[in-house]
């Protein structure tokens, strides 16, 4: 795979790429003091408006800012068009897969995916079998993680179909950049992203057969790390931000308790994991769920978005089969690359992984947020050894991938400007139509050399600019 790193801003000889030229000129013209003043202003805006992130398990509600870097990540129009097509294709196939595994199970009958992989998967929900969802859509929202490798090509890392977060940072970053550098937006034709909440609301409303559906956003509560985002989105969409205790089930419908009495709820945009949604059907100790919700769902009297049981399609053990799904359901060639994946449950692949641990990234199949993973090239000998023990004890729990050399983009650091690794999370909305706001969230691994971009692990973010096509040379 090589040690070369693709730099988003400059080419191999260090010159700005065509779509970065204008920015490069601008950057050369501003002083370090200006940058510092703007950075301070940015932090202040974030802190005062409460754009924060609280760490998991931090019950004290300690809040941290997610650092926002002021150098935009710019994607030119043609490149985005390619990405967009690939994303639509991918999410479409995934939705067809979900409908299939909960109905005919043709893909299993065809022998493309081992049956036990799906049916014995912890994310598979038997209660979803035979249940017909409006438009057959399970994943209304997907936050697909994409990285650019040293070959200059994009690879999908994860599909994130459960409760993908980060879109509020995409929106706040844009707001911030427009406030701090309005002149830059005069020089570039940046495609807008601010209408995301409107698109999301439209998508959610179209997910219900009810005429004027009441949509709510279900949050686990203010101690959740993404609570700010839940509140932000609810406000932007003008819908109620509900907690489990605000909702109750009566006579086959879901209601929320309001000052005017009970009001029926038709669509629940939930930011709560499947197992906590209904203490009567799943995790009995859940305090953030709604007792009886699953039975109302089975009756088709409420839409849950994303659907229960969607997680089976973004499980890391299913991920390797997404290109097969695209070929099987759509009879198309996959547009976006999957990352080569070794499944440790297979003995021969496990022994390969064990022999190459120092070169691979090993991930827990059900893990999320960058916890429980090994990044071979940066791990110490001791870390590798202890990880190998865990791996041998539970090979089923792990997959391995080559260490991708995530592309880099310049960021402001204390010493000036330096490249840091980035990824991209576009948000795909699937209702009657599929819509993606141009760009998405660019996450930055702020530590030098680090490949971990998760905000829970010290990552930052950047504004992501997709340029209008005519801007192309």
């Amino acid at each position: 795979m090589g040690n070369h790193i693709f730099n988003e801003m400059s080419d191999e000889s260090g010159f700005a790429r065509p779509h970065y030229e204008t920015f490069d000129q601008w950057l050369k013209g501003i002083s370090r003091e200006t940058v510092q003043v703007k950075q301070t202003e940015a932090d202040l805006i974030f802190r005062r408006t409460g754009i924060t992130f609280s760490l998991n398990g931090d019950e004290g509600g300690t809040e941290r800012l997610i650092p926002s870097d002021l150098i935009p990540r710019i994607i030119h129009g043609k490149e985005w068009a390619h990405l967009e097509k690939g994303l639509v294709q991918r999410v479409k196939a995934i939705n067809m897969f979900l409908h299939d595994v909960y109905h005919q199970q043709n893909i299993l009958k065809a022998g493309l995916i081992p049956t036990e992989h799906v049916l014995a998967n912890a994310q598979f929900m038997p209660m979803m079998l035979g249940l017909d969802l409006p438009h057959h859509i399970y994943a209304h929202i997907a936050g697909v993680d994409i990285v650019r490798h040293s070959d200059g090509d994009f690879y999908v890392l994860e599909d994130n179909l459960r409760v993908p977060s980060g879109v509020s940072y995409m929106l706040s970053n844009r707001l911030l950049m427009m406030r701090l550098f309005p002149d830059l937006f005069r020089r570039y034709a940046v495609r807008p992203v601010e209408h995301y909440p409107a698109l999301l609301l439209q998508t959610l409303r179209s997910a219900s057969w009810v005429d004027q559906p009441t949509v709510v956003l279900h949050t686990p509560g203010r101690f959740n790390s993404a609570y700010f985002e839940h509140a932000f989105l609810a406000k932007q969409m003008g819908i109620e931000l509900v907690e489990g205790s605000d909702l109750f089930v009566r006579q086959g419908h879901v209601y929320m308790q309001t000052t005017e009495g009970p009001q029926q709820v038709d669509v629940i945009y939930r930011r709560v994991d499947d197992v906590y949604m209904d203490p009567l059907s799943f995790e009995p100790d859940s305090l953030i769920g709604v007792p009886g919700l699953a039975s109302v769902y089975r009756q088709g009297n409420v839409v849950i978005s994303n659907a229960l049981g969607t997680g089976v399609a973004d499980d890391k053990s299913i991920y390797p089969y997404v290109p097969d799904m695209i070929r099987f359901y759509l009879d198309e060639t996959p547009i976006l690359n999957n990352v080569q994946t070794w499944q440790c449950r297979k003995p021969d692949e496990l022994s390969y992984v064990l022999a190459h641990l120092s070169q691979l990234v090993v991930k827990e199949v059900h893990g999320a947020g960058g916890y429980g993973m090994l990044v071979g090239p940066t791990a110490s000998k001791a870390e590798i050894e202890s990880f190998a023990k865990r791996l041998k004890a539970h090979p089923d729990n792990y997959i391995a991938q080559p260490t991708l050399s995530l592309s880099a983009c310049p960021v402001f650091v204390d010493q000036g400007i330096a490249p840091r690794h980035i990824d991209l999370r576009p948000f795909v909305l699937m209702g009657k139509d599929t819509r993606i706001v141009p760009g998405g969230l660019t996450r930055v691994a702020l530590r030098e050399g680090s490949l971990v971009v998760n905000s829970s692990q010290g990552g930052g973010t950047k504004d992501t600019w997709v340029l209008e096509d005519e801007e192309l040379l």
């Binding site: 005062r48 408006t49 509600g61 509900v242 308790q257 309001t258 000052t259 005017e260």
Partner: protein, 316 residues
């Protein structure tokens, strides 16, 4: 709107009002204590514990083992993190409630509360020494932050349910506070001699603690006496912290809220209003001022409970 959100707005403003009232009581208490030390004849130990009696926290204070000195009382009521109604805890509860319903208020309102909290934390850091007297600038600051929040609320939020629930919390808390202050202060009054100078300072302090000294002068243009102070703070409909004013406002607010719920709260409120609107000082003295105020506090609590069950509680 969601009952839980309404509840959190209502409680955040109750907590803020409580913090403000606490600051008012302590501020006046401290200036009285200064007065006492300069003139031994008026150095009544009651003055020191008075803020505790008003806020019903004498037992809790004694349980801490602190000495009954004004600086200790102030420390306890202002900063003690174990005391649920200390100014510090009130502001914290206010901010915690605000944090969960940030979406229901304007950015300016949230920033006002959040800034208050951040500065309170900074002040707490400076105030490490437990014996250090709380300076009166602190009380003034708390009052001003509360004023500021009310002003920002008034100026920025649309006149919808969130606004009404915030106001409702303010007035129910305030009515309770005025009744308690009046009750304790006039009890002390009755126990002591009819010294004109004494009256001036003690009753003046009562009036100042509820920002009503000017209103008293404008209304009576005469020396301060206990009957008139009671009359002003119970029956006057133009003084913003009088019982009548608070219940007037509560009545108005309840009428703005959804009418398909809240019948019990409106009924209780109407009853209270009748007493305040058509009552007189003579009636008050017939039942005794103490009894009258005690009844009022009870009825006001019952009203707040109706608001709670009618509008604010999630059933499930």
């Amino acid at each position: 709107m969601l009952s839980r959100v309404a509840a959190q707005l209502y409680w955040l403003s109750r907590y803020l009002e409580r913090a403000e009232n606490m600051a008012r009581i302590l501020e006046v208490g401290q200036s009285l204590a200064l007065l006492s030390s300069s003139d031994n004849s008026r150095a009544a130990p009651d003055t020191v514990s008075e803020p505790l009696v008003i806020t019903d926290t004498l037992a809790a204070f004694e349980a801490t083992g602190r000495a009954t000195r004004s600086d200790q009382v102030a420390q306890f009521l202002a900063w003690d993190t174990d005391h649920p109604s200390s100014i510090f805890n009130c502001i914290q509860s206010c901010r915690e409630n605000a944090r969960s319903v940030r979406g229901a208020m304007t950015v300016e309102m949230w920033e006002c509360i959040n800034d208050t909290w951040l500065e309170l934390l900074a002040r707490k850091k400076k105030n490490k020494q437990p014996d250090h007297p709380v300076d009166s600038g602190f009380f003034e600051w708390i009052k001003q932050r509360s004023h500021l929040f009310r002003g920002v609320t008034f100026a920025t939020i649309q006149r919808d349910q969130p606004y009404h629930f915030i106001r409702l919390g303010t007035y129910l808390e305030r009515a309770d506070n005025t009744a308690r202050i009046l009750s304790v202060k006039t009890q002390v009054e009755q126990a002591e001699s009819n010294d004109l100078v004494d009256d001036y300072y003690r009753l003046g302090a009562v009036l100042r603690s509820v920002s009503a000294l000017e209103a008293y002068r404008d209304t009576y243009r005469d020396a301060i006496d206990a009957d008139r102070v009671s009359e002003l703070l119970i029956f006057n409909a133009r003084v913003p912290r009088s019982l009548h004013f608070c219940i007037d406002e509560t009545t108005y607010i309840l009428n703005q809220l959804p009418q398909q719920t809240g019948r019990e709260a409106r009924k209780r409120c109407a009853n209270l209003l009748t007493h305040l609107k058509f009552g007189s000082l003579r009636e008050v003295y017939e039942s005794g001022l103490d009894n009258y105020l005690e009844m009022f506090v009870k009825e006001n609590i019952a009203l707040a409970e109706s608001v709670q069950t009618d509008y604010l509680e999630s059933i499930a």
